[in-house]
């Protein structure tokens, strides 16, 4: 029996960070969809190909919280992890009320991010 690889969407406007996270997720065996702004992330998520989303809070066009709100309004319940800078940690906690399953404060460790992704995918 083959296990289908899960797909993770990364929405991060800093291209090289996006590429680094993508490489780490692929190393872990995930399929990855990359988005570089909020609008692109939302379009991809509404197509329903992702099993989990990693959304940066501050992004061009639509920020992470707006993407999350529109996603939930569209009835998509996939798990979302929001990440943003340290000085906005208190607002990240608020994102849990918006429907995010977890949040990651930047700067972050890649292994920590992977363990949170693995946990949510397993729970799903």
């Amino acid at each position: 029996m083959t296990v289908t690889a899960k797909t993770v969407l990364i929405a991060e406007d800093e291209k090289r960070i996006n590429n680094l996270i993508c490489a780490r997720l692929k190393q872990e065996g995930y399929l990855v969809i990359q988005a570089f702004d909020g609008e692109e992330a939302l379009q991809e998520l509404l197509q329903g190909k992702a099993d989990l989303a990693l959304l940066n809070m501050m992004m061009p066009h639509l920020d992470g919280s707006q993407v999350l709100k529109r996603l939930r309004n569209a009835g998509r319940e996939l798990p979302v992890i929001i990440f943003s800078v340290k000085s906005w940690e208190s607002d990240l906690r608020d994102s849990l009320f918006l429907g995010a399953k977890d949040y990651i404060v930047k700067p972050f460790e890649l292994d920590d991010m992977i363990s949170r992704v693995n946990k949510l995918i397993t729970e799903q």
Partner: protein
Amino acid sequence: MDPFLTILIYSIYTSSAIILFFLVVIVFLRWKAAREEREYKLCEKEWEPLYIDYILGKSELDYVKSQFLKTNRYKFYRLFFTPYLKMLDGKDFEATKALCREISIIGHYRQKLLKRNLYDKATAAKMLGDFRCYQSIPERIRMLKSKNHLLILAAAQGLAVSNNPRAFRPVLKALLSNTYFTYEGATEILSRFGSEICPPITELLGEYSKGFVPAALNNPRKKNNAFRSLLPKAKPATVNHTLLVIILIDLLGHYRYAEALPVLNRLLAKADTETIVHILKAYLRIGKLPAEYDPGVYLKHEDWVIRNFAIQTTEMAPDKDLIPKLDQLLNDENWWVRYHAARALMAFGDAGHSLLILRADGSETESATIAAYVLASKEVS
């Protein structure tokens, strides 16, 4: 030839030559920038997969170091590594820092920090902050005492992102001492330290709340306590203790540090108008109220801003005994006070809602208008 015409012709030639000169300079600089950008893109294309393989453990440090050094493009290292230094933590950050150390970037900026050139020093201070380089902290703290605004700013920013709480007090003192920094600018830099600064801030405010007497500032017989030592000695009149206290309170509110509530409540009892405003704002941001807090006192305050924030705190812990006081405030002289009083009553359940409906139909113009307005906006939402 007419002399006037001669002068005119020479003026035209000279102006044309100057304009042409500047055009050539602009074109040359743009060409140079475009060429540098192309060079950088080539380096980035080569370095990025190397770096990713290194971070993912697929390549060894020595190999990656040799590949970076082979390209001989030192000037682009800063541009390349800065995003990773800002985004990564733990072993990924340490690995990046190790690579930067091996290719001599850290050493390069530590040397630059000792140079006289202000731009070099400022760049080095910021980069060493990004590297979280603790060895150069004493030098950067010394830079905070510079007379140059650029150096102070670079040193303060670099120290703030170093995540080293022991640099907090020197940075705070430098920002207060330098009159170029606005309140917003200072708090923006200080907020980069992270929530680790909340315990020392709470300790400082705790000390202040135990009876710091401003008049004692200039008394040579009084021993310096930690709070007093933050105030600049040269300009006590321009930077008073109130400014320091409200910056610290705002930082606690920004980080929603609930452990500071008892200290904030102690401060509230003896605070001046400005400080009361900031403490109430901090309560709203933290989202909790101290057990001993009584909004009733502040609902009657002569300052409308305090009345306004005090009303908002009542929504966090609706107490039916406050309804008559909020009812009175529906006729307050200030629109914002009336508006928030009406909104707060909506948080009091049926008792508050019924009262608003009653007031909306009442004969008193101010309360009727505001009650109707808030009820209508609630229906729309």
